[in-house]
Every structure is written in structure tokens, then in C-alpha cells.
């Protein structure tokens, strides 16, 4: 008896897993919450605030998708993942979307069978050293001990950088950003390397940020973006166009303050299409017509998210740089809503 129950459970679980890939949207709506994979804690990008609420640049993507799909930006279950566990979590269906400053690479896209839906931050790998070490360029790092988060592209970039410049180094592999920070501050490594944005975020949490410098060399391209599983294109489209919506909203001047006003109808047909007063864009995605209104009213547009979490007025203090709109000389360029 017990055995047959066990077998039955197994069989049902097997069937469920087989079907799961094609209907993420229905599953999320039925569950009433979005499972979103984030980092285990990187200030400005994804970290619990003083009240235990997750907040940050990547978290805003999760909240935006939840607002689009469920109409409620708070309906998100955050799943903290490490560099090592994130892909397994996404592949196994434990999370619906991974927004964890993950670099878009060929092999992750093709071989690991994930779908990167866009780029929410153009980044590059940099080095941080204590100021009193007197190092001003990454070319002076021959023989240095380098703390590095294991299981990331930074590990490979680092090996390539030192090999191509004929320098030696000693890698100290670390599992999470918090541990790396502790090791770096204790002086167990001379250099900490990760994406420049991550370095800025980490430095902001130090007691004395000015005692550390980020070296000028950026040794890699790191386009960071949210990703979903292969095989459910409808779900991929939803996440992609939510991200594009945030970017377009900034370009068209839609903000969380004026979105309600604009949703009543405007002269600009593209704004009308986005906010659902014209056309059927929401229905094509299988969502409500006011999906983007929900998104922008709850998290704001891309510029608001950037300034609120990692911008120049926050402790992280990142400039827009490559992440400005294409009209301002940056790389952000959303396809049209048409």
C-alpha cells in the first residue's frame, strides 16, 4: 500500500515536471506569487533592508514582473542563490526568473539552455585594492593574491587577464560576496575582483570607503540581465517586454508620478499603446491591458530604479555611463511598442 502511494507520487511528480516548462505564466498566476532568484545579498542590487524587505536594482525587476503578471509588486518570493546554485535553481523550476547580476554569455544562453531577455546593466570586471597598497594600475598586480567569487565568469576573465599579461597571481576562491568582503578587509587577499558595479556596491558598505580604490582597468564585457528557462517563449516575452517597458518608459518620460495621469489617454500613440488605452498589447502577452501601468506605478521607470538604488545620490554612487538611454549616448535601446 505504502509502496503504491510512493510510486503514484513519483509518477505524478514526473508528469508534472514534464509539463511544467510550457506554462510558467499560468503557474505563477495560480500560485499567486513569483519565485525570483536574487543574490544572497549585494547592497543596491538585491539585499534585505532594515525591515527585512528585499530592495535593490535587481529586486525591482522581480517586482516589475510580479506587478505585470499579478498586479501586485509585493507578490514575490525571493530565493537567494549563490553563483554556484543559481543555474540549477532556474533549470529545475525552483525559480521562475533569475535576476542576479548574471552575465549574458554564449555558453549560458546556448549550452545551458537559458534565455536572456535583455540587459539591465552594462558592466565590466574591475579590481579593488586598499589605497595604502600604492597600486594605481592592474598591470602592477604581478604576484598578488586575488579574492574571487567562485563559479562566475570573473574567474575565467581573471585567468585570461593575468595569462595574457604574463603575470602570476594566487586565486582565493570565495563562495559569497559577504565572505569575500571579510577576507579582503582582513587582508587575506590584496585584491578583490568582480563586476565594477559590485565593487562599488561592496565598497559602499565599508567603514571607510575612501581607503579603497577601484583600478581603472575594466578587463571584460559583462552585460548583466534577467534570464528564464528555454522552452517557454510566452513567459520569456513577458519578462523581456517588462524590462523593455521600463526602459521605454524612461525614454518617453513616463514616471511613477505621472503614469496614472498618462493612463487616462495622451496625444502620443506609443504611450497609449504601452499603457493600454490603445491597442491590445497586454492581451497579446496574456496579461491585463494595464499591465505596464501597474509596473511603472509600483517600481517607476528604469531611470527611477537606477537612481533610487545605485545612482549617484545613493551610497553606491554609480554614474549612468553606458547605462544611459541611447538618446543620451548610452546603450539602452528598447525596441518599439507597436
Amino acid at each position: 500500500m505504502k509502496k503504491s502511494v510512493f510510486l503514484g507520487t513519483l509518477a505524478v511528480a514526473g508528469l508534472a515536471a514534464g509539463f511544467a516548462s510550457a506554462q510558467t505564466l499560468a503557474e505563477v498566476q495560480e500560485r499567486g506569487a513569483l519565485n525570483c532568484g536574487v543574490t544572497t545579498g549585494l547592497t543596491g542590487f538585491a539585499a534585505p533592508d532594515a525591515n527585512g524587505e528585499w530592495a535593490g536594482f535587481d529586486v525591482a525587476i522581480c517586482r516589475a514582473v510580479a506587478a505585470a503578471v499579478l498586479g501586485d509588486p509585493m507578490a514575490v518570493e525571493f530565493v537567494p542563490t549563490t553563483g554556484q546554485t543559481r543555474f540549477t535553481a532556474l533549470a529545475s523550476g525552483e525559480i521562475d526568473v533569475l535576476a542576479r547580476n548574471t552575465t549574458w554569455t554564449f555558453s549560458r544562453d546556448v549550452d545551458l539552455s537559458f534565455e536572456f531577455v535583455g540587459v539591465n546593466y552594462y558592466d565590466g570586471q574591475g579590481f579593488m585594492v586598499p589605497r595604502d597598497l600604492g597600486v594605481s594600475s592592474a598591470m602592477e598586480l604581478d604576484g598578488a593574491t586575488v579574492c574571487i567569487q567562485t563559479g562566475t565568469t570573473t574567474e575565467l576573465n581573471l585567468a585570461d587577464f593575468f595569462a595574457s599579461n604574463n603575470m602570476s597571481y594566487e586565486p582565493v576562491p570565495i563562495e559569497t560576496n559577504a565572505e569575500a568582503q571579510q577576507q579582503y578587509l582582513a587582508g587575506a587577499c590584496d585584491v578583490y575582483t568582480t563586476d565594477a558595479s559590485g565593487l562599488a556596491a561592496t565598497r559602499a558598505t565599508f567603514e571607510d570607503p575612501s581607503a579603497h580604490v577601484v583600478l581603472p582597468e575594466i578587463i571584460s564585457k559583462e552585460p548583466l540581465g534577467p534570464l528564464v528557462r528555454h522552452g517557454d517563449n510566452e513567459w520569456g516575452d513577458i519578462v523581456r517586454w517588462t524590462l523593455n517597458g521600463l526602459i521605454s518608459a524612461e525614454e518617453l518620460g513616463i514616471t511613477s508620478a505621472n503614469v496614472m495621469e498618462l493612463a487616462a489617454g495622451t496625444e502620443n500613440p506609443e504611450i497609449n499603446r504601452m499603457l493600454g488605452t490603445e491597442g491590445e498589447l497586454g492581451a497579446m502577452l496574456g496579461l491585463e491591458s494595464d499591465w505596464l501601468v501597474n509596473v511603472i506605478s509600483s517600481v517607476g521607470n528604469y531611470g527611477e530604479i537606477f537612481e533610487g538604488n545605485i545612482g549617484e545620490n545613493t551610497p553606491i554612487g554609480l554614474a549612468r555611463g553606458l547605462n544611459a538611454q541611447w538618446t543620451d549616448g548610452g546603450l539602452l535601446y528598447s525596441p518599439p511598442f507597436r
Binding site: A17, G18, G83, F87, T88, A91, L158, G231
Partner: protein, 512 residues
């Protein structure tokens, strides 16, 4: 009157499978077996279907692809150009290293703590109880992290050793440095005459073995007890040391000439390195290289030592420019006068000592870190200590149980014969206790080996961190990687328990 019954003529009926006690248990076993197999088949099918749905195939080809990442602690040659398979091998060796060191230290700690816990000295017994209960009842991961944190936070950074009035200084005549990146100890370098010294050492080991045999025979025959320990210790040290010192006295001061690429004949070393800063050097024998490197350090230069094994290798390294200063025996210099394969070389005015049969290369502060010597990384030490202390606490309890299992009468009988307490322990109690101790000890060794997979917590690159961590992450081959990892731990465990079972058979009670 004889009663006569017909033998049962009816043939086998299907219902007998259930109602006949002769067949029932067999039926139940067969059904259960089929169900278990069915469950496994469904699980396997499920995996295949789901992998198919994710578009993943099952392929071990990734093991032959370029790994692309670096590993800090490697017992064999490895660079980021090596394959994932090689990276896994580096990880396997690191796992085996920490497991081996851990098993030895855990056994020593455990035996001491177990014996001392039974001590009549109240303080010693209670201290051991605190150790055992403290380590046994707190998770291993916590201990690993605590020990690691203590080591990184409470020891000085390499740069604290720098400067005139440095905050930290090296120990033992400037040969050992304890830093928060690990402990740097001198590395042995073999010179001329090493073979002789090693041969003498091996011969003295044979001598020790022969002496112990003789001493045992003599004790059995006459009852006299020879001072086995002191004689063994003497044999262990004195002949080797004597040969080493004699050889050193004979050759260590021999002066070996230096040949430098692009130098003028008779230039001093100081003038040469003023133009060629931080030169790459090579030497025959290697000890001359160590002497040359310390001479260079005196001139504020950092030498990059290239190891060469033979005269031909030395010549090739000079010709290819891999090293620009070479130290060599005087009779080899002739081959180096003028030019080597078109490279202009000349002999310098300075010479270096030939070196002793065995020398130690001291770690020296250079650049960001200490260089030379052997670095015992903090991650290795933390993992090793934590595993040993944790497993040692369990072994202590096993040893205590083993000792308590030997009847008190044995001790009393041995005291009555006039044996002193430590002889009683070594000759009477422990040999009997071993029969009880060994079987559970095997599973502690297995535990220690498997627990070493917690290494990633402190960044120790064991097989779980290389094959099961970075490789899986870079290639996305979770299933294959985890299967290989499981297979490795399974095989290692089976080998350990196989070896320990052989030992167990040799100490267990022989029944005839």
C-alpha cells in the same frame, strides 16, 4: 499395523504462492524486488525525459575541454590551459591530502583524549570531557569557519612584515612566517650527494627494524629489556646526520662559476644585475640556485628560479633565454664559453657556493606576498584542524569505550605482575581494546573523508570545489559532474574500508 498414505499427487498450484508458507516469503521478495526496480526505472526515465525537455544530453566530453580557471593549491602541474579532467584530478589529490592528514591527526588526538579522559587526574579528565563534548556537539561546518576566521583575523598580513620596525616578524631564525594567508615554511632543496644521504637513511631504517627484532627475541629468550626507543632514535638520526655533515664539510664551500647571457667577461654580479633587474636564474645543482638567489637578495634583486634537472636542460634554458644567469660545475663552463646556440654568454667574476646535500629555501617577503618555501594555506590548515578536532572527539569516545571494554581484572593482573601503568596500557589493555576500537574507527575515517567536501566553505579547492563546483558551473554538466563526484567518494570510501578491514583482521581475536 502399518498405516500407509499416498504421497501428495496434486501438482503445483498458483495459489500456493500465497497460501503455502514454503513459497510465501519468496513471493513477497520477488514482488518487492520488482517494485523497487520499477521505482528506479521510473526515476531514471523521469530524469531522461526532463533532461530531454531541457535540451540537455548526457556527455562526459567536457572533461577534455580547456578548464580556463586557476587553482591555488595544486600537487601536480596544472594551469588554466589544462582540461577539466585535470582540474578534477588536482581536486581529488587535494581531497586525499586533507583526508590523509586529517585521519592521522584525528587518530593521534582521539587516542590521547580517549586515554586521558579515563585519567585519575581530575583536571585532565574534565578538560578532555570538555574537548570531546564541545567538538562532538557543535556542527563541523561551524568549527571550520571559526578556525578559519580566527586564522585570518588574528594573524598579521604579509605587508605587516615589511619595513624597519615591522609589526610582525618571522619565527625560528627568520624561516617561518605565520600570516593570514597561511604559514610559510622552508622548502627542502636537493643538492649533490642527496642520493648518498637518502641511502644511508634507508639503511638506518632497516637497522632499526633489525634491532627491534633482535631486542624482542632477546627479551623472549632472556627477559632482558633493551632500551629500544633510545637506540632507535639514535639510529634514526646519527648516521644520516654524520654523512650529511661530512659531505657538507667536503663540498659545501666549493665555488661554482656563474655564466650570464649578454655579459662581458669578468663582470661582477652586482654590475650585471644593475642592467638586468630581477633576473631568471637556473642552476645545477639546485642548491647552488638557492645560494645564488640569496646572493641576489643581498643586492635587492628578486630571482625567478627555474628548476633544471640535467646539463642538457640547463643548456636549453640558457639558449632559449628562459634563464639569463646560470650556476654550474666548473668543468661544464667550457661548453658555455663564447656562445650557446648563438646566444652570447660570458663568465662573471663572482661565484656561488655549491651547497649542501640538502638545503632549505626560506620564504622571503617579495612583492605582495612571501615567495619561496612552502605555503600551507589557511584553508588547508583550517579544514585539516577542524576535521581532525571534530573526528578526534568521536575517536576519543571510541577509544574510551574500547578501553572500558577490557575487564578491570586485566589491569589488576598486570599490576600484580609488576608492570607499570604505561606498560600495562601499551602491552595489555590497548591490544585487547583495539578489537573493539577498529570497526567503529573505520566509519570515522570514512566520515572524515566525506566531510572534507565542506572545503568550499573556506575556499579549499578539493574535488567538490573543482569538479563539483567550478567545472559544473562553467560547463552546466550537473548530472555528469555529480555522478563522477559520487563515484569518487564511493570508491575512496570502499578502498579505505577495505584497507582498514585487512588491518582489523590482523588484530581481531584469532579463533581456531
Amino acid at each position: 499395523m502399518a498405516t500407509y498414505t499416498d504421497p501428495p499427487t496434486e501438482s503445483f498450484r498458483l495459489s500456493q504462492l500465497i497460501y503455502d508458507t514454503r513459497y510465501r516469503s519468496m513471493t513477497i521478495q520477488v514482488v518487492a524486488f520488482i517494485l523497487v526496480m520499477l521505482a528506479l526505472v521510473i526515476l531514471a526515465r523521469n530524469v531522461v525525459i526532463n533532461l530531454g525537455a531541457l535540451g540537455k544530453d548526457f556527455d562526459f566530453g567536457f572533461l577534455f575541454n580547456r578548464a580556463g580557471y586557476d587553482i591555488n593549491q595544486r600537487l601536480i602541474e596544472y594551469s588554466n590551459d589544462s582540461t577539466h579532467g585535470r582540474a578534477a584530478l588536482v581536486g581529488i589529490l587535494n581531497t586525499l591530502l586533507v583526508a590523509f592528514l586529517g585521519c592521522i591527526m584525528a587518530t593521534i588526538l582521539g587516542v590521547f583524549a580517549g586515554v586521558l579522559r579515563l585519567s585519575n587526574n581530575w583536571l585532565v579528565a574534565k578538560l578532555m570531557s570538555v574537548y570531546v563534548e564541545g567538538f562532538r556537539n557543535i556542527p563541523l561546518l561551524l568549527w571550520i569557519i571559526v578556525i578559519f576566521a580566527i586564522m585570518t583575523e588574528s594573524t598579521p598580513q604579509p605587508r605587516d612584515f615589511r619595513g624597519e620596525d615591522a609589526e610582525a616578524s618571522m619565527l625560528l631564525f627568520d624561516s617561518v612566517a605565520i600570516t593570514n594567508r597561511g604559514i610559510f615554511i622552508p622548502a627542502p632543496v636537493w643538492g649533490d650527494g642527496t642520493l648518498l644521504v637518502v641511502a644511508v637513511f634507508l639503511a638506518s631504517l632497516v637497522g632499526i627494524w633489525a634491532f627491534r627484532r633482535y631486542a624482542r627475541k632477546r627479551q623472549e629468550a632472556t627477559g632482558d629489556i633493551l632500551p629500544v626507543f633510545w637506540v632507535s632514535l639514535g639510529l634514526f638520526i646519527i648516521p644520516t646526520l654524520a654523512v650529511y655533515l661530512a659531505f657538507s664539510a667536503a663540498i659545501a664551500r666549493d665555488q661554482y662559476p656563474l655564466v650570464a647571457v649578454g655579459a662581458e667577461q669578468g663582470m661582477t654580479l652586482e654590475d650585471y644585475v644593475a642592467e638586468n633587474r630581477n633576473p631568471a636564474i637556473c642552476a645545477l645543482p639546485s642548491t647552488a640556485g638557492v645560494n645564488l638567489s640569496s646572493a641576489l637578495r643581498g643586492l635587492d634583486q628578486r630571482a625567478d628560479i627555474l628548476r633544471v634537472g640535467s646539463a642538457a636542460e640547463l643548456q636549453a634554458s640558457v639558449a632559449s633565454g628562459d634563464c639569463i644567469i646560470a650556476a654550474m660545475p666548473p668543468d661544464m663552463v667550457d661548453e658555455f664559453t663564447g656562445a650557446v646556440d648563438g646566444v652570447e654568454v660570458a663568465t662573471l667574476a663572482d661565484t656561488v657556493d655549491r651547497g649542501r646535500p640538502l638545503q632549505f629555501e626560506r620564504p622571503q617577503l617579495a612583492g605582495f606576498n612571501f615567495e619561496g618555501g612552502v605555503q600551507l594555506r589557511n584553508s588547508l590548515i583550517a579544514l585539516w584542524f577542524a576535521l581532525s578536532l571534530y573526528t578526534g572527539a568521536f575517536i576519543a569516545e571510541i577509544v574510551r569505550a574500547g578501553i572500558l571494554s577490557v575487564s578491570r581484572g586485566q589491569t589488576e593482573a598486570s599490576y600484580a605482575l609488576g608492570l607499570r601503568p604505561n606498560r600495562t596500557m601499551n602491552l595489555v589493555i590497548l591490544p585487547q581494546a583495539l578489537r573493539v576500537i577498529i570497526p567503529p574507527l573505520i566509519s570515522q575515517y570514512l566520515n572524515l573523508t566525506k566531510n572534507s567536501s565542506l572545503a568550499i566553505a573556506v575556499g579549499y579547492m578539493d574535488v567538490r570545489s573543482t569538479l563539483g563546483g567550478i567545472t559544473i558551473n562553467q560547463t552546466g554538466r550537473e548530472l555528469e559532474g555529480m555522478l563522477l563526484l559520487g563515484l569518487f567518494y564511493l570508491l575512496t570510501s570502499l578502498i579505505i574500508s577495505g584497507v582498514m578491514n585487512i588491518y582489523n583482521n590482523s588484530v581481531k581475536l584469532k579463533e581456531r
